[in-house]
């Protein structure tokens, strides 16, 4: 008759078959087997299969003892590994060095660009440097050459005018217009 706790004993019986149970559990299992015919049959089958399993274990070990040591081959491979790691020791620095060089190059280029982008003082005095002014680029230098549109642009008065900020003047013109125009008197 199948007992509720037979399932638990089945696992213990499997361990008992390979002598993997502690003494206390073993006694408990043995007592159960005496009283349970199904577990007793199960135990007998387990014994048979376990005995077959254990009897089949011998040959592989015998075979392994007949073979020569693998150390000679392993030693050869180890030398290769060591050689590779020695060569790889400086190669290991290669990415870091490359990265540092790249960073340095970026810094140098960036600083160059920044230096170029700051407008020299003489350029601020050039009045004719506007969108309409033709600019020619020579191949020898990256510096843009400003070509005057006409001879008038070289007139000192215009240069003088260019230095003056026209915003206050525009504002004064507007005030003048208001005072003289139709809104005069308001």
């Amino acid at each position: 008759m199948w007992m509720n706790n037979c399932r638990k004993y089945r696992a213990d019986l499997a361990l008992l078959a390979g002598n993997d149970l502690d003494a206390a559990t073993r006694l408990e299992v043995e007592r159960h087997v005496v009283t349970c015919p199904e577990c007793r049959a199960h135990w007998q089958e387990l014994q048979s299969s376990q005995q077959a399993l254990e009897q089949s274990r011998g040959t592989a070990v015998v075979v392994s003892l007949e073979t020569s040591s693998v150390w000679v081959d392993v030693q050869r491979q180890i030398r290769v590994v060591d050689e590779r790691s020695r060569r790889g020791s400086w190669r290991g620095w290669l990415p870091a060095v490359a990265m540092a060089a790249a960073c340095l190059a970026v810094i140098l280029i960036t600083s160059d660009i920044l230096r170029e982008s700051t407008v020299p003082p003489e350029f601020t005095r050039q009045p004719a440097y506007s969108a309409g002014t033709p600019v020619s680029f020579s191949t020898s230098s990256a510096q843009p050459t400003i070509v005057p549109a006409s001879a008038e642009e070289l007139v000192p008065e215009r240069l003088e005018d260019a230095r003056v900020d026209d915003r206050p003047r525009r504002r004064s013109n507007r005030a003048e217009r208001l005072s003289n125009g139709p809104y005069r008197g308001f």
Binding site: L15, S49, G58
Partner: protein
């Protein structure tokens, strides 16, 4: 009623350090290897190669292949020696690498290899001279391998390591990186599954062809004390 635990105890010694002969412990050898001592590694190789090849042979059933895998195992151990935790035992760590290599290989070549194994098994495993009838021993081994084939891998691995290679459950737990309770549960399941397939195959055979007689047909030393 039960067999003594002597085999397990003897084999357990091979994974412990220092060895029975009183030589240098595994931990010291590992330390020396870390300092670049090749001879120390050679000592470790010689200490474990037989057992490792035996275990690998259980999985691949081919001597040359087992040898190649053993070499690969030792090479990986050498390359990863810095990762080894010296507070733990070296043996299980080495066998974990070896067993994983063996299992990986089997998984990759599973479909092709299993039929090959059984067809070549007679030439690869010479009969045990101590056996009274070598043919019967070969039949038994072949039958056991067929039955093992029918067991899922994670049960089969535990069964092979415990019942064919005599590792203790704690060692298997260390090798497979599982809790010992898990290994004991798997072992019980594996033995039960093995028993089911074995009994069914024995019942399917003709009575005179039984590779191994069922209990009751001869006296057994495994009987439960009544």
């Amino acid at each position: 009623m039960a067999r003594p635990h002597t085999m397990s105890e003897i084999d357990t010694q091979s994974l412990e350090s220092p060895p029975p002969g009183g030589g240098v412990s595994d931990a010291r050898l590992v330390e020396a290897v870390r300092k670049g001592d090749h001879d120390a590694f050679g000592e470790l190789v010689k200490r474990y190669e037989g057992r490792l090849m035996s275990v690998l042979l259980r999985f691949v059933r081919d001597r040359e292949l087992a040898r190649d895998l053993a070499q690969e195992t030792f090479l990986r151990v050498y390359e990863r020696i810095e990762q080894f935790d010296p507070s733990r035992r070296f043996g299980p760590w080495l066998f974990r690498i070896g067993v994983n290599l063996g299992l990986d290989y089997m998984r990759k070549r599973k479909r092709r290899l299993w039929p090959l194994l059984f067809s070549e098994s007679r030439s690869e495993t010479p009969p045990d001279p101590s056996s009274s009838d070598p043919r019967q021993q070969l039949d038994l081994e072949q039958e056991v391998r067929h039955v093992l084939e029918g067991i899922p891998e994670h049960y089969r691995t535990v069964l092979v390591l415990r019942d064919l290679e005599n590792f203790s459950t704690s060692e298997i737990a260390a090798i497979l990186n599982r809790k010992e309770a898990t290994i004991r549960w798997r072992l019980a399941e594996a033995r039960t599954k093995f028993k089911q397939i074995w009994t069914r195959r024995q019942a399917e055979r003709k009575p005179g062809d039984q590779v191994f007689p069922l209990p009751g047909s001869e006296e057994s030393d495994h009987d439960v004390d009544e």
